[in-house]
């Protein structure tokens, strides 16, 4: 187990380094000077040089990367060009908000997805199976930002049940776990849950179908185990993979929430990225993407390790 753990972590390091290099280079593939958004159009050469020095843009690229990485490791992601505040603080607050709806969405998606997947896998070829498979295709084909708009139209504009956007009366700063605030989470989370629902349903269906075909199932039945007992064995065999898929989906949602957050004006990382893009605030863009990608890398390792814990066969690979 320990060697498996070590291997996973050692394998992650180059990927993490590559991800940081990519985020670092984002600023440099951008056309134009990263300073243009802060400089007044009539800035003198001396002023430009001074700012360049403050942001460190005057040094050679490898040195800049080294310094940037060193600072990032200590939790310093630079200063936002637009607001002048440290990037790290803004990103963490936003990540917390995104994590809230992404986790809720993953739970909803997992519950419904595995339910549909189980039903479809158990009754292969039945009408229920066709329905569940159709649902899975719909889930991965729907433009989720549009689905968000439709949700707002139905549940906010027409029925008036749920608020159309925002983070509640106190905003995200004064968040409370009461209905007034939580109701703002529901529409974005339900919209978001559609993607993992489809993918988890597909995975679980394939898993269940595969497990039911294995020899131990007739063996259990032959020994006189009732349907429920067999069902328990199927769940136990399907769980590690299904949980792994769920973990990865959480990572995808964290990074992919941008469009949905825009629709619902949810103050998460998507909102932050939107601001960064339109104000051409490259340090903020860089920092947000670095944190989100690192979350995803870390989550991958955690999922791998958990799979190793749950399923000894994985460890030997």
């Amino acid at each position: 187990m320990l060697s498996y753990l070590a291997r996973r972590i050692v394998y992650m390091l180059p990927v993490a380094l590559g991800v940081s290099l990519f985020c670092f280079l984002l600023v440099h593939i951008a056309p134009g000077d990263p300073l243009t958004s802060v400089l007044p159009p009539d800035a003198s050469q001396a002023m430009q040089d001074e700012l360049r020095k403050i942001y460190g843009f005057d040094r050679p690229l490898p040195v800049q990367f080294g310094l940037w990485l060193w600072n990032a490791l200590q939790g310093n992601l630079g200063t936002s060009i637009a607001s002048g505040r440290p990037v790290a603080g803004e990103v963490w607050r936003a990540v917390g908000n995104t994590l809230m709806i992404a986790s809720l969405a993953t739970v909803i998606g997992f519950l419904f997805g595995s339910f549909f997947g189980f039903v479809a896998g158990y009754f292969r070829g039945s009408l229920l199976d066709k329905f569940a498979s159709m649902l899975a295709v719909l889930g991965v084909s729907v433009p989720h930002y549009w689905l968000g708009m439709v949700m707002v139209i139905v549940f906010s504009v027409q029925l008036g049940w749920l608020p159309p956007g925002g983070a509640g009366p106190g905003g995200s700063a004064a968040w409370k776990w009461d209905w007034e605030h939580v109701s703002h989470m529901l529409l974005p989370a339900i919209t978001m849950s559609v993607i993992p629902m489809g993918i988890i349903a597909r995975t679980v269906r394939a898993l269940v179908a595969d497990i039911l075909n294995q020899e131990f199932v007739p063996a259990l039945r032959a020994k006189g185990l009732m349907d429920f007992g067999v069902f328990r064995h199927v769940v136990k065999n399907a769980a590690p993979t299904a949980l792994a898929v769920m973990g990865l989906q959480l990572g995808y949602l964290l990074g992919g929430s941008i469009l949905i957050e825009t629709v619902f004006s949810w103050p998460g990382t998507g909102f932050l990225l939107g601001n960064a893009i339109f104000q051409r605030d490259l340090p903020l863009l860089q920092g947000t993407i670095l944190v989100l990608a690192m979350f995803f890398v870390g989550l991958n390792v955690i999922v791998d390790i958990l799979q190793g814990v749950l399923d000894p066969r994985v460890r030997r690979r």
Binding site: G18, V19, I29, A30, S141, Y145, G255, G256, A276, I277
Partner: protein, 300 residues
Amino acid sequence: MTAVTGLDVPKTAVAVPPLLKSPGYWSGVWRRFKRDKVAVAAGIVVLLIVLMAIFADYLAPADPTRSSMLRRLRPIGTPGYPLGADELGRDMLSRLIYGARLSLFMGVAPVFIAFVFGSVIGIAAGFFGGRFNTVVMRTVDVFYAFPSVLLAIALSGALGAGIFNSILSLTIVFIPQIARIAESVTTQVRSADYVEAARASGAGSGTIIKVHVLGNVLGPIFVYATSLISVSMILASGLSFLGLGTKPPTPEWGLMLNTLRTAIYVQPWVAALPGVAIFITSISFNLLSDGLRSAMDVKG
């Protein structure tokens, strides 16, 4: 009549009937595909959307950019505006028809370009193996550490808005995904017995790639690429929806959805129409790709 002597067997007896040409691989694929009603229907829808984009000039009842301040946000079914009018009084039906052009182009072009580059990179990595393979696949791993949506938005956010930049970003998103599939299929083929046999009988790398590898890997890579078109359509329209794609007044479904967002309180169903177009296109491509996958008997 010829005399039949000892060893002389009549000619007709040895004459082998002309070899029946065995039905080729593609006719089998077509036969299986035809039986799949869902896939055929999806294929027809895709074809219709493509035709709609090509013949937009003849199909659209009105000029998609002609606005009218007096007829803003008309409901579906208004005389002269079968699908209503948008926030600037432009005919929605015409805009949806013209929008197919750019939406399809921005969705399909990245997958096509990535198919070309990703296949070359992946096949080369799979075929030559060794250190080259390691370098390529570790780079691919780095790109896999980003969810597609995040990577697309990061790249086009850094590059700036525009059709070219959004196609470029999506191409970069898809190249690693296609390269990974290409690499794994090629690695499998490379160790197949017939490749060993070809090598043993003196075939060079070029011949083996051309004859044995390409014929066996392009199918699976192609099927995988078609499954990406649906994602690409959603992402491309999503970038426009964020304001990172085309600029107004060009009709494009994602951008139309964006500019109509504020209209959901006035004409909600008109505002939702461009999304319906994206949805129909994306699901048709998805079902078509599923049909191709089973017709071509590609696993995974």
